[in-house]
Amino acid sequence: MMVADSVELKREDREFIDSLVSKHRGRPGMLLTILESIQENHPQRYLPDDFLEYLAARMGMPTAQVYSVVTFYSLFNLKPQGKHTVCICRGTACHTRGSLRLLEGVRLQLGLREGEEEGSADKMTGTTADGKFTVRTVACFGQCALAPVAEVDHRILGHVNERALEREVEYLRKARR
């Protein structure tokens, strides 16, 4: 397996990946854990292609297999994510309490059309053009008693109705940071 010579990564990125690989070498679930760490560590929370090429070379794993894993799991993003994330739960309890309308409402509010979602239609992750917002769904947060549930930047909003969510997003949209 040729080492990915053509890949020019910044030094600290290469060192970061090397440290992860040596820390987790041979451990079960190694690839998942490393990919999760790389994505969490990235400012725009996604996995750039050159990072993946370098990682595949360092782990001696075919790039096709790494790409197959990265595109299989819904947690991994191949495109830069917005500064703020609005995640609507599409679990059963939330569905029966109208979370689909919440999703359509927030997508309308941010001007995300059908076409902008990449990935499968039902995965429905869409990022606004200005890179400020990403709207995504999750199959179940495990918060069913608070249904319908939405998560805005890691903060869980329980029993949320359309107006409350709209206010939350509007607040973030106006905030400078």
């Binding site: 397996m1 090429e53 075919p62 790039t63 096709a64």
Partner: protein, 236 residues
């Protein structure tokens, strides 16, 4: 324990080597079990589900390509339920992508097409999906046409297990699964492809083909891979 066991297939007693699968035992006894993703020399994956058989005493259908034959087994290959289910599986495959046989390089030599004829599939009752899929012409000698791909992963397995380059794999999941060359590159831009062409020879349909062939002209040499695999002591 001696190396031979006897099982019953569609009522007929058949000798089998211990450890061989029901599929291989039936094939050796001249009883063809339909199958699209299985191939001698490649590790069986049980993806197309066409080779499912009924085994007496087991309340669910078993994939004959991965289930080892066991002493005293009574296997049914053809029953009303199995034939109906196989026809439905073929109809699902034909509806999934754009299988326009009339203008396909493999017209007349395609395993999907011949199975449809053999099992009497005259039409597809499910709605055609008409997905928008590309054709990769970047490789100097070969063509990848996603419209004809049935995701049987023979190409993935031959490239990984026999050639050892592991250029191909499946990206995405569910109905959005797609064959990918390395990190979603074009075939011509592949770094590890040795252009050996094994993937083209094992592909059951017109998805992988050699350039320079017109409609109905692409005939695959599948036995070459089987012989190579046996020589290299490939699994089973």
């Amino acid at each position: 324990m001696d190396s031979k066991i006897t099982i019953r297939i569609d009522g007929e007693l058949v000798k089998a080597d211990r450890g061989s699968t029901i599929f291989e035992t039936a094939k050796a006894a001249g009883k063809r079990i339909p199958g699209l993703c299985n191939m001698k020399g490649l590790k069986p994956v049980g993806a197309c589900r066409l080779c499912m058989v009924e085994v007496a005493g087991v309340n669910r259908l078993l994939p004959s390509c991965t289930t080892p034959a066991q002493e005293g087994m009574s296997v049914t290959i053809h029953s009303a339920r199995l034939d109906a289910y196989r026809k439905q599986a073929l109809e699902l495959l034909l509806s999934e992508r754009n299988h326009v046989c009339a203008v396909c390089v493999s017209n007349g030599h395609c395993e999907l097409q011949s199975l449809a004829t053999a099992l009497g599939v005259t039409n597809v009752r499910y709605g055609y999906r008409y997905p928008k899929l590309g054709v990769d012409l970047s490789h100097p000698r070969y063509v990848l046409d996603h419209n004809r791909c049935i995701l049987c992963t023979r190409c993935v397995r031959v490239c990984a297990e026999v050639e050892g380059a592991h250029v191909w794999d499946i990206a995405g999941r569910g109905i959005h699964s797609m064959l990918t060359c390395e990190m979603n590159r074009t075939w011509g831009g592949s770094r590890n492809c040795t252009s050996c062409g094994k993937c083209v020879q094992v592909c059951p349909t017109g998805a992988l083909a050699e350039k320079g062939f017109a409609v109905e002209e692409m005939v695959k040499r599948t036995t070459s891979v089987e012989r190579l695999a046996v020589v290299r002591g490939g699994s089973r």
